[in-house]
Each structure stands twice: as structure tokens, then as C-alpha cells.
């Protein structure tokens, strides 16, 4: 704070009578700028990433995913799988308590798992194999399966929406379609609802009763050691202002400043950037297969040849430092990342694209492409898609709207000329795309699939095979088969991986790399 600012502060304070003294701030407070404001507080009720991030502050998980993509125990101490692969026995760690001081028991865990599984697509899939979940005692519970599946740990340790967060029994028994009204977890921070100022401040304090694991933090697993007394989320909707506030020392950490401001940030000697999400994100083009011409897989396949990832990535991200070309749907560099089936695709081979369109007898039906205009990371995608599609010989009717209108409209099955749609573009956190069961857009279950409603028995059978398989090597082979099938029955197009580093003041240390911005282990020096 400059001398003048101090003088101004003293003058204004002296000239007026403080109604209440500001809380003496000897404690260490981390001031964090999240990517958006927090409105909903139930991370099971919604898949919104901001609510997931809030969940990681307040709640804990049975398992987590480490920085190598492996599932590791978190609240669970020991776990075993029976020889017939039909019975999982899991025992909780000692010393786990809720924020109100009550011990965490299996009576809390079982309804928490059930509520999460009622909402989450991977949870639903896992539960299709579950025969029963019963408590053996206060610390041990048993999951009995109808048939073997490799999904149990993958689902319980999934790092992104919906994360299976554990809640006290009375909260977990809330109807899954109704928001919870009490926000007590057993995670490293306590949510201060009385200090919550919607639109400007969300406050968490250190949970003194939290018992971290002894291992070092890694991804969403390991020791969640809290090294600050208090965390304040300060949503700042204007990106430039968030950076100004960081430069002025009014905030400590911006989750995801836009790429065009990174050079400004890098000029400051007081700030550094850190890619807290090394898996990154993936841009995606989604088809609606219900309507002509995208009801014909050949037309959709033509776009695999018309598109190339670099044009999209350059248009949004700009510098190569923050993107990676990757023909794998399930994220390059992770256990199931593979380019199988895509070797000759995503290279803007317009000749091949035109041949496929001719083969499909494309009749010039205009493609209604929804263009989101208000989210910086999405705005430039649709114009690039339009240009490439037109070069391949498709007619495109790009309709601009805000993202929330896209969200509302994409759930409509009406014909495009009657308020429906053909295609839109979005971005996924890579942590949501690590296998064919987790990746929502690969679901080809017709009416049960996500908007776009792809319908393909082969893909669904392969996804079932993946769910049943417990051998990682065989799972990998199934993933390759899924990707090869998607190459001829396209559900969506993956348009490359991109990264959005956070910006931090130099005195903020210890940020843990994970698929979500987790705020344990951070210290302020």
C-alpha cells in the first residue's frame, strides 16, 4: 500500500466513525479469484465446475486421482476386492469428523454414495453393477456386485463433475433433485455461510479438526494440509480488473486469467503463472444426430476430415505454449489416451471431406450452428468451424446467442428450423474425459445420451465391455475399439487440448496440480 493510499485510508477513517472495527487480520488469508461467482452450493445437484470447486473446499472423497491418473484412497484407509471380484470391502481412516465435530461413519457414507449415483452418469453406470451396499460396522462397508466391473474405483475416485463428495447422513438423504440446505462436510475447509456475500465474497476457514493423510499431496489425493487460516473467494467478472487487482496486491491468486492477459501478467516481477491443471481442457464440436443432414454418419465423418485442431486452438488460445494437438479423445498422456482411428483425420483434407459429402448425397441443407458470444473461450470457435465447413462444401447458418441460450436450446429435440439445432461447440475439463464411460459425449444411448442423442449399439456395447473389464490392458484395447467406432459413427469432434494457467503473487507457494483448482497445501509467505 502506498504512502498516499495509507494517508487516504487514515484520513477517511479519521473523518468518519467506524461503526464496527474491521476484524483484526493477523491471520493468513488467501484471496482467490474463481472463474465465476458461486450461486449454487450443492455439488451433487449440479455439474457446474464452480460448484465442484466449492465441493473440494468443504467435502472429502473416498478416493481421488493422483497426478499420474491413478486412483488412490482418500477417506478410505484400506480396501480389498474378493477373489471372485464381486465384493469390495472398504474401511475408513481413523479420526475423520464432520465440521460439527461428529464422527464420520458408514451410516453417512452409504447415503452419500447413493445420492451421488442417482445424479452422476458414471455413478449410474457403476450402480447398474451393484447388488447392495451395506455397513459392516461404523468404519467398514461392503459393496456387493452382481457381476465384476472395473468401474468402482474409477467412479468413486473421479476428479470432476459430479465428484462423489461425502456428506452427513441427514444431508445425504436429501432428494437428489432437491438442493441440500445444510453445508457441513468433512473436508479441509469450513464454509462460512454467515459471511457469504453473493456476488462478491465466499468465505472458508481452516477446519481445525481435519486429519490429513500422511502422503504428499498429488492431484486430488494425498495430504490435504491447510496452511492458511482463511480463504476468501472474490469473484471479479472483469478479467482486466482481476489482473489489476492482482498487480495491486488486492488478491493473491487468479484461477484462470484469459490468455490475452498472460503477457501483461508475465511482465510483472511480483507475479508468476502456474498450470494447476496439467491435463488441461478439450474443445469439442457436438453433433445433433436427430436431424438431416447429421442423421447420416457419413456427413458427420466428413467433418473429421474438414476440421483441423490448430485453427481452433490458435483462434482462442493463440500461443503454442498453452495448447497441444491431440487426436486422442480420451486425453493424450493419460492411461487411455490413444490416436487409434484418427491417424488420417483432423488435418483439413477438404478433398476427402467433399468426397464423403458427395457419397452421402448432401443436398445443401443449411447447418444451424449455435455460436456462443459471451464466454471468451468459446466465442471464436464457431466462426472457425463455419469457415472450415463452408470450405468443405457445407452450407452453414451460424446463429449467435449467449451461452445460457445455447444451454437451453441444446436440450430441444425440435427440428433446427423450428428452434432446434444441428451443432454447437463447447469445452470440457480433461478430467471429465478420461475413459469412454466417463466422457459424456461418447454415450450413444439414444434418448439416454446427452443432448445430440447419438444412437449406436456398437458403441454402447463397447462401453459396457469397458465397464465390465477389470484388466487395464484389456480396458485399453476396448478404448481403442471405441475410438475406432466413433471415427465412423461420429458423436462429436475433439478439437485439441488447451491449458489455462493460474496467476499468483510471488508470496503464494505450494499450489497443487490437479484437474480442479484445489486450495490445500498453499502457503502465504
Amino acid at each position: 500500500m502506498s504512502t498516499m493510499r495509507r494517508a487516504l485510508a487514515v484520513l477517511t477513517a479519521a473523518a468518519t466513525i467506524p461503526l464496527l472495527a474491521t476484524v483484526a487480520n493477523a491471520q493468513k488469508t488467501l484471496r482467490f479469484v474463481p472463474h465465476s461467482d458461486l450461486k449454487i452450493l450443492d455439488p451433487i445437484w449440479t455439474t457446474a465446475y464452480i460448484v465442484r470447486n466449492h465441493g473440494y473446499m468443504v467435502y472429502d472423497t473416498l478416493f481421488g486421482m493422483d497426478d499420474k491418473g491413478e486412483i488412490k484412497p482418500q477417506m478410505v484407509d484400506t480396501y480389498t476386492l474378493s477373489d471372485d471380484k464381486l465384493t469390495w470391502t472398504m474401511t475408513l481412516r481413523d479420526g475423520l469428523t464432520w465440521h460439527d465435530g461428529q464422527p464420520v461413519t458408514t451410516a453417512d457414507i452409504i447415503p452419500s454414495i447413493k445420492r451421488w449415483a442417482a445424479k452422476d452418469s458414471m455413478g449410474q453406470k457403476m450402480f447398474s453393477f451393484v447388488d447392495s451396499i451395506d455397513a459392516k460396522d461404523a468404519k467398514t462397508f461392503v459393496i456387493k456386485l452382481k457381476s465384476p466391473t472395473g468401474l468402482v474405483l474409477l467412479a468413486l475416485g473421479k476428479p470432476s463433475s459430479n465428484v462423489p463428495f461425502m456428506m452427513p447422513k441427514r444431508v445425504a438423504e436429501t432428494d437428489p433433485n432437491k438442493q441440500i440446505e445444510e453445508f457441513i462436510g468433512s473436508g479441509p475447509y469450513v464454509f462460512k455461510r454467515d459471511e457469504w456475500q453473493p456476488g462478491s465474497k465466499i468465505v472458508y476457514v481452516k477446519f481445525e479438526g481435519y486429519k490429513p493423510r500422511s502422503e504428499p499431496p498429488s492431484g486430488t489425493t494425498g495430504g490435504k494440509v491447510v496452511k492458511v487460516d482463511r480463504v476468501e473467494w472474490r469473484p471479479i467478472r472483469d478479467h482486466q480488473q482481476a489482473v489489476n487487482a492482482l498487480l495491486a496486491g488486492e488478491v493473491d491468486y487468479i484461477e484462470s486469467p484469459p490468455h490475452d492477459l498472460v503477457p501483461l501478467i508475465k511482465k510483472s516481477k511480483d507475479i508468476y503463472t502456474f498450470n494447476w491443471n496439467p491435463l488441461g481442457n478439450q474443445f469439442t464440436f457436438r453433433f445433433n444426430v436427430l436431424h438431416k443432414p447429421f442423421d447420416n454418419p457419413k456427413v458427420r465423418e466428413a467433418l473429421f476430415y474438414a476440421f483441423n485442431q490448430e485453427d481452433f486452438l490458435k483462434a482462442v488460445v493463440g500461443t503454442e505454449e498453452f495448447y497441444k494437438l491431440c487426436k486422442g479423445m480420451f486425453i493424450c498422456g493419460t492411461p487411455f489416451g490413444t490416436e487409434a482411428g484418427f491417424e488420417d483425420k483432423l488435418e483439413s483434407n477438404f478433398k476427402k471431406a467433399r468426397e464423403l459429402l458427395a457419397e452421402a448425397k448432401y443436398d445443401g441443407t443449411p447447418i444451424v450452428l449455435m455460436h456462443s458470444t459471451d464466454l471468451q473461450v468459446l466465442t471464436n470457435l464457431a466462426p472457425v468451424a463455419k469457415s472450415l465447413m463452408e470450405r468443405a462444401g457445407l452450407k452453414v447458418d451460424m446463429q449467435s446467442m449467449d451461452w445460457q441460450t445455447v444451454v437451453a436450446r441444446r436440450s430441444k429435440k425440435d427440428a433446427p428450423e423450428a428452434g432446434g439445432w444441428h451443432a454447437f461447440l463447447t469445452s470440457w475439463v480433461a478430467g471429465d474425459l478420461l475413459n469412454p464411460v466417463m466422457a459424456g459425449f461418447v454415450n450413444a444411448g439414444c434418448d439416454k445420451a446427452m443432448f445430440g442423442w447419438p444412437c449406436d449399439e456398437q458403441i454402447e456395447k463397447l462401453r459396457d465391455d469397458f465397464a465390465r473389464e477389470t484388466d487395464p490392458a484389456k480396458q485399453k484395447a476396448i478404448v481403442e475399439a471405441v475410438q475406432k467406432r466413433v471415427a465412423v459413427y461420429p458423436t462429436h469432434i475433439h478439437l485439441g487440448q488447451w491449458y489455462n494457467p493460474g496467476a499468483l503473487r510471488n508470496n503464494v507457494k505450494g499450489v497443487v496440480a490437479a484437474p480442479a483448482p484445489v486450495l490445500w497445501n498453499i502457503s502465504i509467505e
Binding site: A9, T47, S200, R237, N244, A245, W428
Partner: protein, 313 residues
Amino acid sequence: MGGYILRRVLSTLPVLAIVAVLVFLMLRLTPSDPAAIIAGDYASSEQIEGIRERLGLNEPILKQFIIWIGGVLQGDFGESFFYKKQVAELIGERLEPTLSLSLITILLVVLIAVPLGVIAAHNHGTWIDRFVMGFSVLGFSIPVFVVGYILIYIFAVTLDWLPVQGYQRIRDGVGGWLLRLVLPAMTLSVVFIAFIARMTRTSVLEVLNEDYIRTARAKGQTEIKVLVRHALANAAVPILTIIGLTVAILIGGVVVTESVYTLPGLGLLTVDAVLARDYPTIQAVILLFSFAYVLINLLVDVAYTFLDPRIRY
């Protein structure tokens, strides 16, 4: 006067009723789905349908309207779809920043714009007049966010005299509260200072040619007295009208300024509610704004009677 005020207050009821119906219908007829937004970007159709059912959005529009208007008549504006808070409580939380910003802005505007306008009129045709008018043109030509960024760059980023953004509630210390409102109020006041200075100049110029001004000067009164007691007092009605409108605009939510400075006021609440299609909140704030406009216009009308004894209701 009492009867007039009562009639005016009663006349607001049909206005508010029309606003209520229009807002309710417009929200339902626009292509939007709060359930899809609440469910999140990656929710399934089943999840969205479950939430829609829970919020009562599957009910016929008429039934939804009757439930809502029935609540409003009992003072219950419903619960925000998102915040799980009563809308009245949400608005109550957001009133303080908006009223604080409005109060300081209007103080700045009146204290600067009116004297500037009077000085310009008094020095009509001189370089002082041209300077004030030049500032006026500049003031309402530059977009508010540009003024905001320039002030932030100078006073917050470069000189480090004032905070970049944020709001502190009065109960947490008046000093911090005031300090965080200086830049937003300066930003916001520029356009209104420009506008009201110009209006004041025009109004004062008109009365400066009146006979009673010449008489006052002939009686040997000082120029200050002539300007303030005779010229400004008689030019006050149109100036007050504009100031009243300014207050109404400020209370109606100053979206850009609140966004740039992250002030959690009614403007930001409105924008967030519209983007999220939070129907109960949008409906309540629009009703509130309509009521505020009507009320401020009424207060301005009543104030006329004090400034000009010829006006009687």
C-alpha cells in the same frame, strides 16, 4: 397536497400490475430454461427434467403466474432458483452498495455540476464557458467503462492511492467503505456532471435575461447573490427534474460501473439474474425498479411546490 400524493400512489398500482404481467410473460416466452442452467453444462436430459419438475416450471404458465402473484400480494417474492435465498433478502443485501454509490455520485454531481453550469452561464461566451461546454461534450461522449479504466490506471494501478475494485460494507468501517466508492463514484459522475452542468447553464442563461435579474442588480446586490438567490432558484425546476432522473437511473442499477469495480449491487444482481434466467429475482427487481421510478418522480413533483410557489396540486 395529501390527496394528490394519495392519488399518485394509487395510480402506481396499475403501472406495477402491467409491469408484473409483462415481465412474467416475457420471461416465459423467451428461449430459456433455468433448469438447464442450474443443472450445469454437462447434465443429462433426465437431470434437467428432474430440476424443472422440482421448480414447478412444467406447470401451465397461468398456474405459475397465479402462484407468483399470490405470493407477491402477500409480500413474498419467492426464492431465488440459484441462491436458495428469499429474493427480498437477496435484494436487501444488494441495496446497500447501490444506494451508497448513488448517494456519493449524486453528491459529487450536484456539488460539481450545478456550480459549473452557473459559472458557465455567468461567463457566457468566454473561454470559461467554452471550457465547461467542451468538458460536457467530452464527459457524455466517453463511455463509462473507458473513464473507469483510465481512472483505475491512474489512481489505483500507477499511483496506488485507491483500491482497484471491491466493496466494503459500512458496518465493517466507514473509512474503507468510502475509500472503495471514490473511484466508482468519480467514474459514474462524469457523464452526469457533463449533462447537468449543460442543463444548468441553459436554464440559468434563460433567467439571466429576465427583468427581475436586472432589478436585483440595479438594487446593488452582489453578483453571487444575484446568481444563487435569483437566477439559480428560478432555474431550479428543470435542473431538479434531471437530478431526479439521475437518481432513478442510479438506483435502477449501474451495471457497467458495478461490473468494472465488482460492486455487488442491484445492477450486478439484475445482470446475473438475467443471464441465469433466475425468474423470481428478475421479476422482483424489475418491479422494484418500476416502483422506484414512480416514487422518485412523485418526490420530484412534490419538490416543485417548494421551489416554485406558483405550482400547486
